[in-house]
Symmetry: C3
Subunit: 134 residues, 3 copies
């Protein structure tokens, strides 16, 4: 298990963390199994989406902002209830298959930490599980 | 693998199931790996969110109700189509890293069964996977 | 690890892939652990929902279409930004517990590949992890 620190810079952004996963996979020596990337936070999440055109990340942020506006009739006093909701919509982690020592991400896939209440210092936990060498 | 029964009390609620996960982890004896919590239901889900201020759970329920109103032009005859959609938005399970025999939940994280068509008797399945003792 | 090819037929649909998971589980010989089903795509996802009444799938498609309309003020030039957002809302994969060599899906649960920018040829990756024979 490895913990990576990610410094986010604005209130809402998607930070590419793919290379951290690749580094931990290489360090683990696991050839076949799965990798789990997880955020121990309640106003951030993890998602997989396009790694090429940055407009996709912008559009995902736009769509989430429209789905969960900051000014809904929320009761949470800290003013970041929208961030908690977005975290649950994205999910706290992803599980990616591994084979031949490589993450089986698609050609266009990157792994992103979704920051919804930044800027903050975030942790990303990365675990690798072997499948028994099949 | 352990199955926990959760009795929900109203149509929509988030039930804290964190201690069940901790108990199963302790019983498993696994020191390092991941824990998977899963609901075998189609109108309930599992999510991770804040464990301190209960207003966050209320706000999550409010936001999901606004995203998926009961009175959308649904075709499913049982009148609980909104519950099925909410289940897919949250997801059927979560995977949490384990190290030193502890769930690596963040300080403010709890694990919640999302009930969207209660009250019902629900099952929660908990599996623990060791990572080979690294 | 096994890769299954799924040919989708329309722009948006939910394709039942449950039997592919059952076949790969049987081929793996694993009796106890988890199965991971994953799509290496950014305009498709995986979800678990009702396998009986097809109206539930129709309603899920309707609700996602209402949550993320095609004509939002998106910037991604390919015209499929809505598909990318839906992929992140559903998630790229699911993890299902296994015991006695069986997927522990609920009676009414099926596993679906969510196509949001079809018709296309999609890949579904299926990994099985043993939990050490507990």
């Amino acid at each position: 298990m490895r913990t990576v620190t990610v410094e986010t810079r604005v209130r809402v952004e998607l930070v590419d963390v793919t290379r951290h996963l690749q580094e931990e996979l290489a360090a683990s020596g696991v050839r076949s199994g799965v990798l789990v990337a997880y955020v121990p936070h309640t106003t951030a999440g993890v998602t997989i989406n396009e790694n090429a055109d940055p407009s996709v990340r912008r559009d995902l942020i736009t769509a989430l902002g429209r789905l969960v506006p900051e000014d809904l009739p929320f009761t949470h006093a800290e003013g970041n209830a929208d961030a908690h909701v977005k975290a649950s919509l994205l999910g706290s982690g992803v599980t990616v298959p591994v084979e031949h020592g490589r993450l089986l991400l698609g050609t266009w896939q990157g792994v992103y930490l979704g920051e919804f209440d930044g800027p903050r210092r975030r942790q990303l936990l990365i675990s690798v599980l072997a499948d028994g060498g099949r």
